[in-house]
Amino acid sequence: MKILGWTCTLMFLLSVGCSGDKPTTAGKTGGPAPKFTLAWSEYPSWSVFGVADELGLLNKDAGKQGELEKKWNVDVVLKGVDYDTCIQLYGTGEADAVCITNMDVLGSATSRNSVAIFPTSTSVGGDACVTVGIDNLEALKGKKTYGLAKSVSQYAFERILTARNLNPKEFPFESMDPQAAATALQTGNDSIKSIMVWNPFVMDTLKKVQGSKRLFDSSEIPEEIIDMVVIGKDSLGKDGSKRFAQCLMETFYTINKRMENPETRDATLVALGAKFSNLQLEEMKQVVTQTKFYTTPAEGLALYKSDKFKNTTMPAVVKFCVENQIVEGKATVGFDKADSQLNFDTGLLQGLIDGVESK
C-alpha cells in the first residue's frame, strides 16, 4: 500500500512537471522573503497544504521556498499538528494563520482579531450521528449520544434536531473524544449506542461496526459548518502579508485544479488520503462528496457574499457559542468590516478573480 502511495505521488509529480502551466515567476519585490507560519491539521481540505509541500509548491521549512513561495516572494512555514494544537498555536500568536472552522474561530477571535480570508470546504455529511440498534429519532429520545462537547459535533447535533422541529433537550449529548467514541461504539459496549462524530470516524465506524447506521448527518445543514483559512489581523499588518495570503490561496486552488483534472485526480486524492487518516482512493472519493471543497475563488466568494451565511448561519453559530459558554460575551462578526473581531474578507478573493496582484 505504501508503495502504491509513493508510485501515485511520483506519477502525480511527473504530471505536474509535464503539465506546462507552472506559475510564472512574476518577479515580485526583491529583498529577503518575509516569513509567515500556517498551522494546519489533517482534514480533507487542509491536508492540501501538506500535499503542496510534497509537490514542491510550498516548502514547509523555514528558509526554504517552494515554487509558489518563490513566485510570491514569501517564506511559508507549515506546521502540521493536531487540531487543538493548531488553535493554541494561533491563539498564542505562534502561527500567523490557521486552518480552523467558522465555529472554533470565534473562541480565538475574542483574544486575537482575525480575518477569514477564504473558505476551503463545507461539511455535507462529513459530520454524522451513527447509531447501533437505534433506527429512528423517536428511538433515540432519552438515549445518550456521545461526541465532543462544544465542538461542531454538538452544534450539528442540536442544529439538525432543531431543523427537524425537535427539542434538543430531549436528546442528551454527552462529551467524549470523537476517536474514543468511535472506539467505544466498536467495542459493542451496552452503555454506548449512538455517537456524533466527524470524518474519518464516521466512515470508519460505518465500515467496521455491523448493523451501524447513519441516523442523520450534516447534509441537512449545508454551508453551515465551514472549514477555512484565517489570518491574525496583527499578522496582516506585517510587510508581505498579502503576498502570503495570496500564496496560500493560489496553493489551495492549484491543488483543486489537480483534483478536477481527470489525469491528476486520483493521484491527488491518494496524496490527500495519505495525510488524512491514511484513507485509500475509494474512501477518499467518498470523503470529498461529504466534505465539499470550494474549488474556485468564485465559489468561496459566493459563500462569503451569501445572505443566508451572513444573516442566518453566522448569527446562529455565535448564539450557539454564547449559549454553550464557548465564548464569553459576543464575538463581533463582520463582513468586510475591518474593526470586527472576526472579519470575513472578500477583498483577497475578489482580487484573485480580478487578477489584480497586490503589492
Binding site: D84, I87, Q88, G91, T92, G93, D104, G107, S108, T110, S111, R112, N113, Y146, A149, K150, E174, S175, M176, D177, Q179, A180, T183, A184, Q186, T187, G188, N189, D190, S191, I192, D234, Q325, I326, V327, E328
Partner: protein, 269 residues
C-alpha cells in the same frame, strides 16, 4: 558549608520567598505578553484570573433548574473518581504485594506479569476498559485503580523481599506464630513505612491517569474542563485548575508524611 543547618525562621522565609519569586516571574511574563496583544488570554493577568474564577463559581442552569457551579461539579466528579480508584488500587495492591512477598509460588506466578503490566500506561489501553467496564464511573475507577495497583503491588513485594529478613520470620515461627500472625506482626509492621512512602509516589501518576481519561471521556471533571477551556484559550480557568491540582498533590504529600510519622514514629529516614 555543605549541609550546615539553617534556623527555622529562615527556612520559612525562604519558602515564602520561593512562592513570591514564582508569582513575580508570572506577572512579568503576563505583562510582557499583554504588551504584545492586549486581549491575550494565554498568560492572563490577575484581573483575568478574577473573571475566570467568578465564572467558575457562578451557579449553572436556569432559574427553574439550578445546577451547581462548574467548579463544584468538576471537583466533586474528579475527587470522587480519584478517591475511589486510588483506594481500590491501594487496597488490592497491599493484599497482592504481601501475598507475593510471603509465598514463593504466588511470586513465581505473578511477578513477571506484574512487572510487564506496570510499564503500560492504562490510558493507552482505553478500548480494553471500554469492553470490560464501559464508559462511566466504573471506567475511571478501574483506570486509576489498575494504574496504581501494578506499580504499588510490585514495590510492596520488593519492600518485603528487601526489608523483612528471613531470620525475623524464623524467629517468629520458633516462638509459635501462625502464618497470619507473621504476616501482620512481622511483615506488615516492618513494611508499613515503605507502603506509605510508595503511596506518596503514586498520587502523581494516579492524577495523570485520571485527567488523561477525563480529557477523552465524560462531560465533567477537571480533565474535561481543562481540555475544553484550553481549546478556546481560556487559560485563566485552566491555570486555576492546575493550581488546585498542584495544591492537592502537595497536601496529599504532607498528609501522608504526617501519617507516617504518626503511625511509625520509630521509623526515621
Amino acid at each position: 558549608m555543605i549541609r550546615r543547618p539553617i534556623p527555622r525562621w529562615l527556612a520559612i522565609a525562604l519558602g515564602v520567598g520561593g512562592v513570591v519569586l514564582l508569582l513575580t516571574a508570572y506577572s512579568i511574563l503576563s505583562a510582557r505578553q499583554t504588551r504584545k496583544n492586549e486581549n491575550q488570554r494565554v498568560i492572563p493577568g490577575w484581573q483575568t484570573f478574577k473573571e475566570g474564577a467568578a465564572r467558575l463559581v457562578r451557579p449553572q442552569g436556569s432559574a427553574e433548574d439550578p445546577q451547581p457551579s462548574m467548579l463544584a461539579t468538576d471537583l466533586k466528579a474528579t475527587y470522587w473518581r480519584l478517591f475511589l480508584g486510588f483506594f481500590t488500587g491501594v487496597a488490592l495492591s497491599i493484599v497482592m504485594g504481601i501475598a507475593m512477598g510471603a509465598y514463593r509460588f504466588i511470586e513465581a506466578l505473578l511477578a513477571p506479569v506484574m512487572s510487564f503490566l506496570a510499564k503500560i500506561p492504562p490510558t493507552a489501553m482505553l478500548p480494553i476498559y471500554f469492553v470490560l467496564v464501559g464508559t462511566d464511573q466504573k471506567m475511571f475507577t478501574a483506570m486509576v485503580a489498575l494504574g496504581v495497583f501494578f506499580n504499588m503491588a510490585q514495590s510492596i513485594y520488593q519492600a518485603i523481599a528487601g526489608e523483612v529478613k528471613t531470620v525475623s520470620i524464623d524467629k517468629a515461627y520458633t516462638l509459635g506464630a501462625s502464618d497470619p500472625e507473621i504476616i501482620y506482626e512481622v511483615i506488615w509492621k516492618q513494611i508499613l513505612p515503605s507502603v506509605l512512602d510508595n503511596l506518596r509516589l503514586q498520587i502523581g501518576p494516579a492524577m495523570i491517569f485520571l485527567l488523561a481519561a477525563e480529557m477523552l471521556v465524560g462531560g465533567e471533571g477537571m480533565g474535561f474542563r481543562i481540555r475544553m477551556e484550553s481549546r478556546v484559550l481560556n487559560m485563566s480557568v485552566v491555570y486555576i485548575y492546575l493550581t488546585i491540582l498542584g495544591l492537592t498533590g502537595l497536601m496529599a504529600d504532607y498528609g501522608l508524611l504526617w501519617l507516617r510519622r504518626w503511625l511509625c514514629p520509630w521509623c526515621v529516614r
